[in-house]
Subunit: 429 residues, 2 copies
């Protein structure tokens, strides 16, 4: 038994890449948690025929079809009408729903100081309360109701486009009895993620292949991907195949050793945050080529004020001297992109803030500024603490933004390794 | 006449949202520039039947179908074989291509210190040189060749998944004679973007509606979207309808005045960079709630070292005092999230770096840390210069990352307005 869903994302702004779709990936993840496979995510523009074709296509081979977007109050928001046509159902005014929407609209309009008597608002309410005959209404979380629409084939779940509205409505969609019946075949599917830092993708592929030659991997859906220089092995399997997954995980850990840095859901950001908290330690940054990205990433998570004190962006050489205290003659003699300056910057970050660990980056992010001795992609990262430091010289491929992003990730892993090593020293000492 | 394309993005990691697809939006934009409409972007996982269904679906109603991904050296990369099956063509080894791929692989392996005699590498080369009979080969830009595969219907253009490889291969794909013939119906479509900062979306919708009631907007495809708090009006039209677009643009500029901050392709980042360069001015930051995001955004573009000196991330109160020189008793009396501290931070950023403009952020990004007086989303931003400053108090909606992102955008717009105003003063003076 299994259950499968197809997702239609509507909107010309998504199709043309002006807006990044957040709903497809979010719904795919929610469905996975429910034990439902997602077969396709299909993005279409605002043309009626394209949405109708999409609904017909996804209705083949799926147990339920979900749509996002196109539920707004304006005339070009056509999803409800087109799903009604797809289902062969009339579109009717739900008067009670119209009253509830009107009340919500009035509250929003009042809060924003709009003219609540505007005929535009009334027309919008009327439009949003038009519902395919026999559809189940999912109560609006913004102003648009969601719908579960019975068809001759799989039911269509119609959800709003704004991610916060869609996410707030999701529990009601899942609780709907039509949806529940359509997904009756779903079965728990476990997902496990194992992450590696360092080895090449080809070596991982070879290890997976050779493990597969000696073990039965049926029922394990293994996919690997390279993200920000990190290798991820994501495996989905039924509870019955847990032991096969455990054997695979053990084989990878045995072969790659410390390069396997996570066998649970934790990413490098989690590991660094937890290790800093556990050690009662703090971090501060001095960034050149990354221009603030390391500090921004460290402070991305709530509660980071417990272990991030602050940082310096020392983009100009003068700033390296004035803010991080890097001697100007050191920069003059070895250059700003050097091990010596990276270490001095890391020490400067500590000194300026009193942090336990100072983290630094200095490099040539490109596309200009490279020389034969220091080509684009040459980056030095360093970590300094009381009485010690670590340093790494990198040669990173890719665009300016890729070089910057890879630098951040590499520095986070270096910090993770330093924190691991020092924690072990403390245990041994 | 017109030409239309469908795009298939392959990969379970994209389908499940673990990796964000960059290729669909990039290809959609490139095709638009060529005058080709994109009908659909369809994401499928690694299951063979799903890709075959996708190829069949997109072959109806499109003049060309493009695929991305699934061309790697490992056994689960099946795109070439499945496109061959879709086209009813045998998959054959291209021996000359295999030699060229082997040479590329050998260079990469040598650079990374891998064992170049590994049978894994040889197997990968053989796999990547298997080509559907009669297909045109697009020379590899990584190790995977692209393909243009003739079918009974629209040709299929097979492109690699890594964005840098795909983008490097694109000119060859467009130059291919099969592709050129399939897209013969394409016609120039102009796209114009007008950007607003400030007015509500409903006001924009009303102005567009009333303009449409008095003017013929046929042949103009207008879409609006709200991005990072900025409103974008994107219009596509044929050259013949240029005057209708000009009238629409003039009406919006007339109604909204200075809120229209861009009528060409330039975004706020461009405008700020150009204005700083034109004024020979420099900027430096002191960031609390944004934790480095303002500096990271300012240094995103190449050449930013000409106008960004550096910055401070003063996340902890102690750092605000130690790095930005904000008096500790000021923080104690009015709180870190206040106009006074924001202005003091901006002045501190100038003082620490010697920059013309100091930019600051301090606020409650959430989800914790809010109080009735200073709820989550309360942010102060400030800009200081020699003899003056500007400040804004914000109450931003959304998640922690949304609050941080909106803060960055708001500060950039404030800087844009300051730079505009001071440029005008100089002209008048």
């Amino acid at each position: 038994m299994s259950a499968r869903a197809g997702i239609v994302v509507t909107g010309t702004e998504v199709l043309t890449g002006r807006v990044r779709d957040a709903n497809g990936p979010w719904l795919a993840e929610q469905l996975r948690i429910l034990g439902v496979d997602v077969g396709q995510v299909l993005v279409v523009g605002d043309r009626p025929a394209d949405l109708l074709d999409a609904l017909a296509f996804l209705s083949r081979g799926n147990d339920v079809v979900l749509t996002t977007g196109g539920l707004g109050p304006t005339a070009d928001d056509l999803t409800a009408a087109l799903v009604a046509r797809h289902a062969g159902r009339a579109l009717l005014l739900d008067a009670a729903l119209a009253e509830r929407i009107a009340a919500r609209v009035a509250r929003i309009a009042a809060a924003r100081g709009w003219d609540t008597s505007s005929p535009d608002l009334a027309a919008g309410v009327h439009k949003q309360a038009m519902v395919p005959e026999g559809a189940h209404v999912l109560e609006p979380t913004g102003t648009a109701p969601g719908l579960v629409v019975p068809t001759g084939g799989p039911p269509v779940v119609v959800l709003p486009g704004p991610p916060s509205e869609l996410q707030a409505m999701w529990p009601a969609a899942v609780a709907d009895d039509l949806v529940d019946a359509a997904l009756a075949g779903r079965s728990e599917l476990r997902q496990a993620t194992l992450r590696l830092w360092g080895p090449p993708e080809a070596e991982l592929a070879a290890v997976l292949r050779s493990h597969g030659e000696e073990h039965d991997l049926s029922g394990l859906e293994v996919s690997t991907c390279l993200r920000e220089g990190q290798l991820e092995v994501v495996t989905r399997h039924s509870p019955a195949r847990q032991s096969a997954y455990d054997a695979l995980s053990a084989a990878l850990t045995h072969h790659f050793g410390d390069a396997v840095y996570s066998t649970d859901a934790r990413d490098v950001d989690d590991l660094v945050a937890e290790a800093l908290l556990a050690a009662g330690a703090t971090a501060a940054t001095a960034e050149s080529c990354t221009g603030g990205l390391v500090a921004a990433r460290l402070t991305e998570r709530a509660g980071s004020s417990a272990y991030v004190l602050g940082g310096l962006v020392t983009y100009a050489n003068e700033a390296k001297t004035a803010l991080a205290g890097v001697p100007a003659d050191l920069i003059a003699s070895v250059g700003a992109v050097s091990e010596e300056v990276a270490v001095a910057m890391a020490e400067g970050a500590r000194r300026a803030t009193g942090a336990t660990y100072g983290l630094s980056t200095t490099g040539v992010a490109g596309p200009g500024g490279g020389t034969p001795a220091k080509p684009v992609g040459r980056v030095h990262v360093a970590i300094a603490w009381d009485g010690g430091h670590r340093h790494a010289r990198l040669q990173l491929p890719g665009s300016r933004s890729q070089v910057r992003e890879r630098t951040v990730v590499t520095l986070l892993h270096l910090l993770r390794e330093v924190l691991d090593g020092r924690a072990q020293q403390v245990q041994q000492g």
